[in-house]
């Protein structure tokens, strides 16, 4: 096993380990923190693949944005410090079975299809990503980009509508 393989397995173990922790812990705040570590592990994977931009985006979006949002919503709801009740035995069995099925399914897919390992070189310059994102031609992502932005706009309007204080009804 080469050093880079060892690093890969270490990172993978890190991600999965914290993923399992975040599922099994009974304190909701800790769960969010373990999720955070898991996401950091994913960005570590990107760094290991030498796609630094994606790695940094992973940190900015997931760690700086989404996990902070999750933590905030935990703070704002009640009783973030209480230990949640232990999951009933039936549910544990069901989730274990689901996980096993998921593994089996993934393994099946991988073994059935003949995936080829890449040569590890991709061209992921910031400028290339930028150009692709806005080009409408070959290998351009302008349409998905616009579609996503419309989705975000809709979400934003939804947020504003929810947050807006309803005016007292006039009598």
């Amino acid at each position: 096993m080469t050093a880079s393989q060892i690093i890969f397995y270490l990172i993978a173990a890190f991600i999965l380990g914290f993923g399992i922790l975040s599922m099994t812990t009974r304190k909701i705040f800790r769960s969010a923190i373990w999720l955070l570590f898991s996401l950091i592990g994913v960005s570590g994977l990107y760094f290991w693949l030498q796609v630094e931009f994606i790695a940094a985006v992973q940190i900015v979006v997931y760690v700086g944005g989404i996990v902070v949002l999750i933590i905030f919503s935990i703070f704002l709801t009640q009783q973030s410090g209480i230990e949640m009740p232990k999951a009933p035995f039936k549910r544990t069995i069901a989730s274990v079975l689901t996980v096993l099925f998921g593994f089996a399914f993934t393994y099946l897919l991988i073994s059935k299809n003949n995936f080829q390992a890449g040569d590890g070189k991709f061209n992921a310059d910031v400028s290339t990503i930028g150009t692709r994102m806005l080009s409408a031609g070959e290998q351009g992502f302008a349409l998905p980009f616009e579609a996503v932005s419309i989705l975000l706009l809709a979400a934003m309007i939804g947020c504003i509508v929810i947050a807006m204080k309803s005016k007292p009804e006039e009598k």
């Binding site: 630094e52 700086g64 703070f75 910031v126």
Partner: protein
């Protein structure tokens, strides 16, 4: 000429000539680690001493003057005190997260040092997304603060953490946008490229009005991002006693304290790199005698000089202004700084496209 770059290069040459590449690389890592930690502690000592002397000077006091000449060893004595002090963990705290939090804050502060250029060609990791890397990692420290606030099982801490979270997340936007202004002008995220683009003049001179605006917004935003007065709402000692680190003592408190100062150093270094040309000496025109004299000053002196000037400015804020209130703080960001920096970014883009800068 004798410079940091030469030393680093010769050490590397010697290492790779003597050992096989893997061992040489590991030794290099070790050296870098030791240097980074050394720099870290030096920064802590120097900046805390500087803060005390600056505040004393502004407040008609003498500041520390007993330990060592002019009190220069005062910080050392304080560090010693903090090390031997018992690290208390309050009853009912989430012990694991409580103890983990200072390290997260500390490590994220440490990692940001990687892409900084301390002198000409003297840098740990010339990553090709340099400034973006800094912006990304610095968003990690907020998690540490939120963790510390929640795990302390103290309401002051929780409020401080909430404030700090809201503050850092929102001010990251305008800090990021003002960084982008320079990125647009220099056309690269890489820190060496950004410094190289300022060879014929710093951006603060070359870029005129929009860069000044970006610079002012940057300074305001990073002051807020590092939780410094007048944006020190996370600690706000007259309201929340000490905010998120109320319950911390001993070395864990010292780590927070140190991380705060290192963060100040990092953001000021970033400001110096983006706007004041990093290690580039001050030049006027081309080929004048003045430029030659300036070139004699070592590049590390230029870098640290600019950085410490910005640090002084940020300290000056702290000892002059009253603190904002949390809603005013968020108003300032969302209603003023963010729109201004967005429009400014458009302006800068226009200037970059039309080549209106010098």
């Amino acid at each position: 000429m004798w410079s940091l770059q030469n030393i680093a290069d010769s050490v590397q040459h010697w290492l790779y000539a003597t050992f096989n590449p893997t061992i040489a690389m590991l030794i290099e890592f070790a050296i870098i680690g030791v240097l980074a930690i050394g720099l870290f502690s030096m920064l802590g000592l120097v900046l805390i001493y500087m803060e005390r002397k600056v505040s004393a000077w502004m407040q008609l006091r003498l500041g520390p003057n007993r330990v060592g000449p002019k009190g220069v060893f005062q910080t050392m004595a304080d560090t010693l005190k903090l090390i031997v002090k018992e690290g208390m963990t309050p009853n009912g705290a989430d012990k694991l997260l409580f103890n983990l939090a200072p390290f997260i804050v500390m490590i994220s502060a440490m990692v940001i040092l990687a892409p900084l250029t301390f002198a000409k060609g003297f840098q740990i990791w010339d990553i090709n997304i340099g400034v973006f890397f800094i912006a990304a990692i610095s968003s990690l420290s907020v998690i540490g603060i939120l963790m510390a606030g929640w795990a302390s099982n103290n309401k002051y801490s929780l409020l401080g953490a909430m404030r700090s979270g809201a503050q850092i997340v929102s001010y990251e936007l305008s800090a990021g946008l003002s960084i982008l202004a320079i990125v647009v002008l220099s056309g690269s995220l890489k820190i060496t490229d950004i410094i190289a683009s300022q060879e014929n003049g710093w951006w603060i001179f070359k870029g005129h009005v929009p860069v000044w605006i970006a610079f002012v917004i940057f300074i305001i935003a990073v002051t807020a991002e590092t939780n410094r007065a007048p944006f020190d709402l996370a600690e706000a000692e007259s309201e929340l006693t000490a905010g998120f680190h109320t319950e911390y003592s001993g070395m864990k408190f010292a780590l927070f304290f140190l991380a705060e100062y290192v963060n100040i150093f990092v953001v000021c270094a970033l400001g110096a790199i983006l706007f004041l040309g990093g290690w580039m000496p001050l030049h006027f025109g081309t080929g004048t005698k003045f430029n030659e004299v300036m070139d004699y000053i070592p590049s590390s002196v230029w870098f640290f000089g600019k950085t410490f000037f910005l640090i002084f400015v940020i300290m000056w804020f702290r000892w002059t202004f009253p603190r904002l209130r949390i809603d005013q703080l968020l108003n300032l960001e969302w209603k003023y700084l963010l729109p201004i920096s967005m429009i400014n970014l458009l302006l800068v883009t226009l200037i970059a496209i039309l080549n209106w800068h010098f």
